[in-house]
Amino acid sequence: MPANLSLFIARGGEILAILEKTIAKDILKSELYPGGRPAAELLYARYSGMLYSYILQFVPDRKEAGALLVDIFSRLTTQLQDAFDSPLSIYCWLQVESRKIILENIQNKGVGDVAAGAGLVKGPKAPALYFSLLEDAPPEHQWVFRELFIYGRTKEELAIQSGKDLGYVSRILRECLGVIRKNLG
């Protein structure tokens, strides 16, 4: 009984820790002054670590990732009304919008840098995050997901490059997403 109680307390502590880390939209709404310091500080306190590791998937250089994080927060805190209008959670909205900014940033730097980034991402020290969920997937699946997710390429582009039809690429992506869902759950 005491063991069960301590387990229950520990589990309760974990849940509280998770709740502390997540922000429901109504909480954020109540504290929001768009673009002002309170909203930015609140978002930064809760999501900076999560978004930083997310950015490191695309930009493994920590200094550059830090500069991008600053850019992302200063841009997105002025658009939080869009987050409220979106069916996505605050965190998912943040990461979807962050990805757009990151890809835009990479594209502005040019193709050469993207290729260099690709090498770094594939390196042994590169942070995996979502790719760690695809460790069991075949190399072709990992390649398709990397090209679509990290480099923002389209399925059509991949189909042409790989000489397969669009349906094949879509199927591979669907299987990748299935693996991710399974490993997350």
């Binding site: 996505l88 959670s89 969920l133």
Partner: protein, 162 residues
């Protein structure tokens, strides 16, 4: 409701969900056409919303487990950047042309209020102090009565003598 909506929209929701649209949408991989379609279907299919929320929840837990704190200088850079941000003009905000306020028009959905966490500590401190003062007040009141009883027998003969 779902069956009727499925017939109306011509979408087999089970197949649709198995297509990976939820994950694509949440990860930002869906095309603009897929996003439009998904957002149109979402209000009509509660199971779609539930599946999205479930995926988001697991994704967020995974991200919490794998978060990497950014270097401390990043926070300072961000504070500097935010200080230089101009105020958001009303005309740039969607649907707020007629409003002069810069606050977001948010509907209150909860009956609860939320306050800063420092109030918890302050409330506990005030509560403890109130209890201490109450105990002290009772103690001194009893002391006073005790002292008064001790003084009373002395005062009574003095009155008689007069």
């Amino acid at each position: 409701m779902s069956g009727r909506d499925q017939k109306k929209s011509g979408v087999n929701i089970e197949l649709y969900m198995q297509s990976g649209i939820i994950e694509s949408y949440a990860l930002g991989l869906a095309t603009s056409e897929e996003v439009v379609e998904f957002e149109q279907l979402l209000p009509h299919f509660p199971e779609l919303k539930d599946a999205l929320q479930e995926f988001e929840y697991h994704l967020e837990l995974f991200s919490i487990d794998n978060e990497i704190p950014p270097p401390p200088e990043v926070r300072l850079q961000m504070e500097d950047r935010l200080r230089t941000l101009p105020a958001i003009p009303d005309r740039l905000r969607r649907g707020s042309r007629s409003h002069r306020t810069e606050y977001v028009q948010a509907k209150e959905t909860s009956g609860h209020i939320r306050v800063h966490r420092i109030w918890r500590t302050l409330f506990i401190a005030v509560f403890v102090l109130a209890k201490i003062f109450l105990i002290l007040a009772i103690y001194y009141f009893l002391e006073y009565r005790h002292a008064e009883r001790q003084l009373h027998p002395v005062a009574a003969p003095a009155v008689k003598q007069n």
